[in-house]
Amino acid sequence: MQQASRAAISDYLGAMRASDLLHPRPEGLYCPPGDFFIDPVRPVSRALITHGHSDHARSGHRSVLATQQTLDIMGLRYGEGFAGTTQAAVLGEAIALNGVSVTFHPAGHVLGSAQIAVEHQGTCIVASGDYKRQGDATCEPFEPIKCDVFITEATFGLPVFRHPPDTEEIGRLLKSAAQFPERSHLIGAYALGKAQRVMRLLRDAGYDRPIYIHGALAKLSDYYQSQGIDLGMLEPATVESSGKDDFTGAIVVGPPSAFADRWARRFPDPISCFASGWMRIRQRAKQGGVELPLIISDHADWDELTATIKETGAEEIWVTHGREEALVRWCELEGIAARPLHLVGYEDEGD
């Protein structure tokens, strides 16, 4: 029975147009009729970029099509000459590329992040990039798009990943800050998206003291503020601006790598915190020496992944980076055709 349905799927895959419309190449996901790549990992002639994280948005393409915010973020990270030409995509507005219609829709991942709907001769594929469904005041919420094929990430594609409400996590952070007023709390958070989301969550929870930030966060945080996302007062966490005592009771945000660095020595008896979906697994926290794990993720958890797959109504699911195996298994149990795409070059660990 299972064998028969497998055979049926592979017949269908062989005959269908979806894989003619988009399929993996070493550079990334390629659309032959439109002659463009989505999130290519090597320089190409035309690239469509879902969001500004460095494994998806690379420099050196001849032309780049992305949301204005993603283009701005790439400019901040790589400098103005990061691509030959750029074109801003407006959310919800279709653009024709060699007769293929592409439309950007919000993905809810980080500021400027988008899913890309590719339509041609009656077939619609949505490449969702990275996405999440939990609310986030720093970006537009994810919109489910009806499609024939939905391409989903699977960073947290295991039933063990269940993200709690982010407000609960921030509540635990503030409780710890009150319990240990003589220590500082160092929060590891990725420089684009997570860091600003954590800061915004702190503000929404009523935290009104200055938040100290690592230098690597400054430009992007300024950009978020310029886009109308209020992060409150941010101060550089530099020794020049303050002595050791001044960080007593402080909340400091920086990229996770900085905390293993000598940079972190300036803080009094710090409690190391890490804002990431990986913090759901105790051993991950333990191995990383994290004392206060904050389960705050910019990726969909298991329940969000499975709910989203159902909402899109897609007949077929292509699974990209992460734990594809379990999500494909779930689709099988649900009677939805699914296969892993085996794209290379994306971090399946970043969050």
């Binding site: 295991l158 697994i281 105790r282 333990k286 298994r329 779930w330």
Partner: protein, 533 residues
């Protein structure tokens, strides 16, 4: 339940002792009765709940989800309790309006019969949050493993009430969960609970090692000397027919020594060394004694082969009379008279060692008359019995070779016959300021133990592995838990190759200190002092 779950989550990731104490005292301060007392009991191991086997847990979860997805999940997480807590399917209809309290959860678990236990557990998991599910599973599978010893929990209680820990230890065995009267006292809302229970533990008096130059300042006439016997320190308490044998940290070890317990037919509190053999004939070695340690039950054969007896060196109470305020000379007199009334095959008196000056004592210390003697003890004639480790009244002066109590940090598999055993041990001693001590490795040893001990250590290593690096495992070793190894060595060299700055000559494991808390292992300063001498 959620607050208890949160406490467990924080404790397991908080390495510093002070951090743990803050978390515990905050919890005890902010959570009401009876939840906090039940949490305390869970931490100290005094909460009795019928155990659920891991296999049953697995069965319960497989009934509720796809086995393949469960396998992927378990393979990824690696810990059954954690996996089940995460993947347990929960429909929004299951979520109750009010989260169950720890007391409600404990009551349901305790009321469950053996046959409906799994069903009760499943219903509780249905109604709990992820963290609470993890905590519930930990409660029913036994052993929280959160890096908090009973002693640390008692220290947190002492901090909460601003009292000395010895007051808590003294009361402890007379109290029962949920400890309402204890918390009321600590919060100043009630009188100190009266010692209504019989045969309670009295906090013991400890000695400090003789350091260089210490003796020159002391007058030999002020001190009594005794042999330092190589057994385990115990306190035998009999009161109103209740008999208890305590370890020096106040754990009740009566169960392992039923033969000795039968001879405890008096009304007093005695302090002494537990040894094996016949006091009138021959005293067994420490490795003989080890045949009796760390056993839940003990066979008649072992009892006969290695009979336990107590070599008494102090008396804290006789009848209703508390003797601790008396000076050592007076207590000694009472002890000598009292021991005569006891079964001579189970109790004898630790003899005093006559000496005129330190030089003479040094001779005796170097050539003790019995291999089970590991040095001499010095006790001020005029000292009362004080809880804790006051410096001055009691000294221990061990014989050569040098030994150090180190904590096992890494174990490596051996070769050849030992290839299936973790037989090469790297051990460390404490360094760093109080409150944030860290172990620093000081040496490696792979002999000195018997084959039976090797099997025991190997099991310990496998049960307490934290990380694996090829053939090497790092074992749990922190202030709260760890295996203390007494390492004997012939001398110490300075070393630039080792982080600790010292290298041992001819180190070997001289014995396994299953009885010694890891936090009481030696500090690096002890070794550095040897270098300087």
């Amino acid at each position: 339940m959620n607050r208890f779950a949160e406490l467990l989550d924080r404790l397991v990731l908080t390495p510093s002792r002070n951090g743990k104490l803050t978390l515990l005292t905050d919890y005890f301060r902010s959570v009401e009765d009876p939840d906090r007392g039940l949490a305390l009991a869970a931490i100290t191991g005094d909460l009795s709940i019928a155990a659920v086997k891991p296999a049953m847990l697995r069965t319960l979860v497989i009934e509720r989800m796809d086995p393949v997805l469960f396998r992927y999940s378990y393979d990824y997480v690696g810990d059954l309790a954690e996996t089940v807590s995460l993947v347990w399917p929960q429909s929004s209809a299951d979520i109750p309006n009010h989260a169950p309290t720890l007391a409600e959860v404990v009551a349901k678990l305790q009321a469950a019969s053996r046959s409906d236990g799994p069903k009760v557990l499943a219903r509780l998991l249905d109604s709990a949050s992820i963290s609470a599910r993890f905590a519930i599973i930990k409660l029913v599978t036994g052993g929280l493993r959160i890096g908090v010893s009973a002693r640390l929990a008692k220290q947190a209680l002492a901090d909460l009430g601003g009292v000395d820990i010895t007051e808590i230890e003294e009361l402890w065995h007379g109290l029962a969960p949920p400890y309402t009267e204890l918390f009321a006292w600590l919060e100043g809302k009630a009188e100190k609970p009266r010692k209504t229970a019989l045969a309670l533990f009295r906090p013991v008096m400890l000695s400090t090692p003789v350091g260089d130059g210490d003796l020159e300042k002391l007058d030999p006439a002020d001190y009594a000397a005794e042999w330092k016997w190589d057994g385990i320190r115990v306190q035998a308490v009999c009161e109103g027919g209740v008999r208890r044998l305590y370890s020096r940290t106040g754990d009740d070890v009566s169960g392992a020594f039923p033969d000795f317990g039968e001879a405890m037919n008096f009304s007093a509190t005695l302090d002494g060394e537990l040894l094996v053999g016949d006091p009138l004939q021959a005293t067994g070695t420490f490795s003989d004694l080890q045949q009796r340690l760390n056993r839940k039950s003990v066979t008649p054969k072992i009892q006969q082969q290695y009979p336990a007896f107590m070599r008494c060196y102090d008396v804290l109470q006789i009848g209703d009379e508390d003797l601790r305020p008396l000076c050592f000379r007076e207590r000694r007199g009472r002890l000598e008279a009292f021991v005569k009334s006891l079964d001579p095959s189970r109790f004898d008196l630790s003899p005093l060692v006559e000496f005129t000056d330190w030089q003479a004592l040094e001779e005796l210390r170097r050539k003790p008359l019995h291999p089970v003697i590991e040095g001499v003890m010095l006790k001020r004639w005029d000292s009362p019995y004080l809880a804790g480790r006051p410096k001055g009244p009691w000294f221990k002066w061990k014989r050569d070779p040098h030994t150090v109590d180190a904590v096992l940090m890494y174990a490596q598999r051996g070769h050849g016959k030992r290839s299936s055993f973790y037989s090469d041990y790297t051990f460390g001693v404490w360094s760093g300021p109080e409150g944030s001590e860290e172990l620093v490795p000081v040496g490696k040893a792979y002999f000195g133990f018997t084959d039976e001990e090797l099997r025991q250590i190997d099991k310990y290593v496998r049960d307490n592995t934290i990380e694996r690096f090829g053939p090497v495992r790092s074992v749990r070793a922190d202030r709260e838990a760890g295996l203390v190894l007494e390492v004997a060595f012939e001398g110490l060299n300075r070393s630039t190759r080792h982080k600790s700055g010292v290298a041992m000559r001819f180190p070997r494991i001289s014995r396994l200190r299953w009885d010694k808390p890891a936090a009481e292992a030696d500090r690096i300063e002890t070794l550095q002092a040897l270098l300087d001498s």
